[in-house]
């Protein structure tokens, strides 16, 4: 009976993990295909499609654009999120709960609605589609997240630490950069990498708000329109690899924090 239960549990776990990871395994596997179609039988391993991807100027420039948008939009989102959290945690604002709710509200709105909203607004005020527009969209989706993470880590004990700094003669800027930011560094770091991860593989907003220069997910979508090709597998594997690295960095920060 017990053995049967254990087998059942193992089978269930295997099915779940298979369901999640099998597509990725297939994607990565056929990116190493030596022939022109990403279908069985496996003919690799070969790195020819990775070579092709890295030789493709449109893909490499889209990759560069993605990194740029992810980095800059995350920086802006973290900076704004931190300042908002600091303001809410340190000052008594009327209807603070309502204002905090409004800041985190975009978390519940779909990316499609946010993207469309920004598109319509930018059209109306004459802002052209561009990477900057997509970056602004990414700030909109990531700011609530950064705010929520950093705000949750701003405890009462930090209030006295900041007071102590002021008491010892620190100006407000020095309190912020010598005390508040370093003390909250793990939360700031975590929200930055989470933002990077989300911006890195975000498609809908980038698709709606960019035209000639696009980000990698949009470029991959362009490639997919002309049918399956091991090149798409190779570029998908690269995207996946970068996401894994970001997630690992995030995990490391949190693990280090929890051990302390």
């Amino acid at each position: 009976m017990r053995i049967a239960a254990r087998i059942l549990v193992s089978a269930y776990a295997l099915a779940i993990y298979g369901f999640i990871f099998l597509p990725v395994v297939v994607l990565v596997l056929f990116s190493l295909q030596a022939t022109s179609f990403p279908i069985p039988p496996f003919t690799g391993p070969s790195l020819r499609w990775y070579q092709a991807v890295l030789a493709d100027q449109r893909l490499t420039s889209a990759l560069f654009n993605s990194v740029l948008v992810a980095l800059l939009s995350s920086l802006v989102a973290v900076a704004l999120g931190f300042l908002a959290a600091w303001g809410f945690a340190r000052y008594h604002l009327p209807r603070s709960w309502l204002l905090r709710g409004l800041i985190t509200l975009p978390l519940t709105v779909s990316y499609l609605i946010i993207g469309m909203g920004i598109l319509i607004l930018f059209n109306a005020i004459g802002v052209p589609k561009s990477l900057i527009a997509a970056g602004i969209g990414h700030v909109v989706i990531n700011l609530p997240l950064c705010f929520a993470i950093i705000y949750s880590q701003m405890g009462e004990h930090q209030v006295n630490i900041e007071r102590a700094a002021r008491d010892l003669g620190a100006s407000e800027w020095k309190v912020l950069f010598l005390v508040s930011v370093p003390v909250l560094w793990p939360a700031i770091f975590a929200s930055f990498f989470l933002s990077m991860t989300f911006s890195w593989d975000e498609f809908v907003i980038a698709f709606l708000l960019t035209r000639f220069d696009t980000t990698l997910p949009v470029e991959i979508w362009n490639m997919l329109r002309s049918g399956l090709n091991p090149r798409t597998n190779a570029v998908g594997s690269l995207v996946f690899g970068v996401s894994i690295v970001l997630a690992l960095l995030l995990e490391l920060v949190f693990l280090r924090r929890n051990r302390q």
């Binding site: 004990h157 630490i161 007071r163 102590a164 002021r166 008491d167 010892l168 003669g169 100006s171 003390v183």
Partner: protein, 358 residues
């Protein structure tokens, strides 16, 4: 620094402060002399911490003013006040080493690095932590963190050092030990200390000047010996050490003494008063005796309800037979034969009774 050299170091003039509708401070006036150790004693909610915060600049009082070294500091932010605070939770910077914590105030004042390190080392040596310079705060024990917080505040040479329940987070034994060290440290550096606590033993052991607070007001202030032996109010008679309180009315006026009709019978004490006045008599436990002695008077019979052996003495609680609302608290020799349920006659000398008006 400008300002008068002869006046008090700190002068608090009629300071009031409200949090919303709650009045935390109600027209408080207090002077602090240079080189003194002042203790603000009171229960939680008495306003003692708010008073300290108005000195540190973390609270700007709604009314009144604060002068430090003769300068009006009422609206001056903490960074520009000649005060330094030791916080209850120490508030050490967790991301700086102990040395950098202590050197922080000097860094903010633009003291060059090498000089800063030297002075931080001196300050740490002063509190007995010379070898902790390179450690991180989380590697230290509670008592050690407390010393780092002291060194960090003292190294900037404040005119006044403010201590907000500095020993509150320590266990009893360490608290008594740190208490002695604090007093010794204050005598050595000569800086005026203002120390907030709710522990009356701590207050009596440390204070040159003891300030008893309740409901945002100062109930009593003076040398702790005086506050203990001649409390000025019912509150300070019961909060700073225990007292038995007998309420009554002034009856007859004699030459130098008045007769008071108390809950347990008439008692004459040497004092001036007007007939008909409602008063209280406060008697310290060590002044209530189980047998007559010298000029003592009887306080009537009482039934012993509790005896607690405390080593050098026994603490006896007894309810008056004449008026069961009155519970006497007496400290008697530990070899005195007394047990729960015994009927005893209690005595006290009129000179040991403190007359308190309402």
């Amino acid at each position: 620094m400008t300002g008068s050299l002869t006046g008090p170091l700190v002068e608090i003039r009629k300071v009031s402060h409200s949090f919303g509708r709650y009045k935390a401070l109600d027209e408080v006036s207090l002077n602090v002399e240079p080189g003194s150790y002042t203790v603000l004693l009171g229960p939680s909610g008495s306003g003692k911490t708010t008073l300290l915060s108005t000195l540190g600049g973390f609270v700007h009082p709604t009314e009144g003013s604060v002068f430090i070294r003769g300068n009006d500091c009422t609206a001056v932010p903490p960074a520009r006040r000649p005060t330094a605070t030791v916080f209850q939770d120490y508030a050490l910077f967790p991301h700086y080493s102990v040395g950098n914590n202590v050197g922080f105030g000097l860094r903010m004042r633009g003291v060059p690095r090498t000089k800063r390190i030297g002075r931080a080392r001196d300050a740490l040596a002063m509190v007995g932590l010379a070898d902790a310079f390179n450690k991180m705060p989380h590697q230290l024990s509670g008592g050690q963190r407390q010393r780092v917080a002291l060194a960090r505040a003292l190294v900037v040479e404040p005119a006044v050092l403010l201590l907000d329940e500095p020993l509150g987070a320590l266990d009893l034994k360490l608290r008594r030990q740190m208490q002695d060290e604090l007093k010794a440290l204050q005598k050595r550096v000569g800086t005026a200390f203002i120390h907030v606590t709710h522990d009356q033993e701590e207050a009596m052991a440390l204070a040159d000047h003891c300030v008893v607070m309740n409901h945002g007001r100062i109930e009593d202030q003076g040398p702790p010996e005086r506050v203990y032996s001649r409390p000025a109010s019912r509150f300070s008679a019961t909060f700073m050490g225990e007292s038995t309180l007998l309420s009554g009315k002034v009856q007859n006026l004699g030459m130098d003494e008045i007769s008071i009709e108390t809950q347990v019978g008439p008692v004459s004490v040497e004092a001036a008063g007007e007939p008909g006045f409602d008063v209280s008599l406060a008697i310290r436990p060590e002044h209530i005796m189980l047998e007559p002695h010298g000029a003592s008077v009887s306080l009537g019979e009482a039934k012993v309800t509790d005896v607690v052996f405390q080593g050098s003495f026994k603490r006896v609680s007894a309810v008056s037979i004449k008026n069961p609302e009155v519970t006497f608290i007496a400290k008697v020799r530990s070899n005195q034969p007394v047990g729960v349920g015994d009927l005893v006659e209690l005595h006290a000398a009129p000179t040991d009774m403190v007359l308190l008006s309402h």
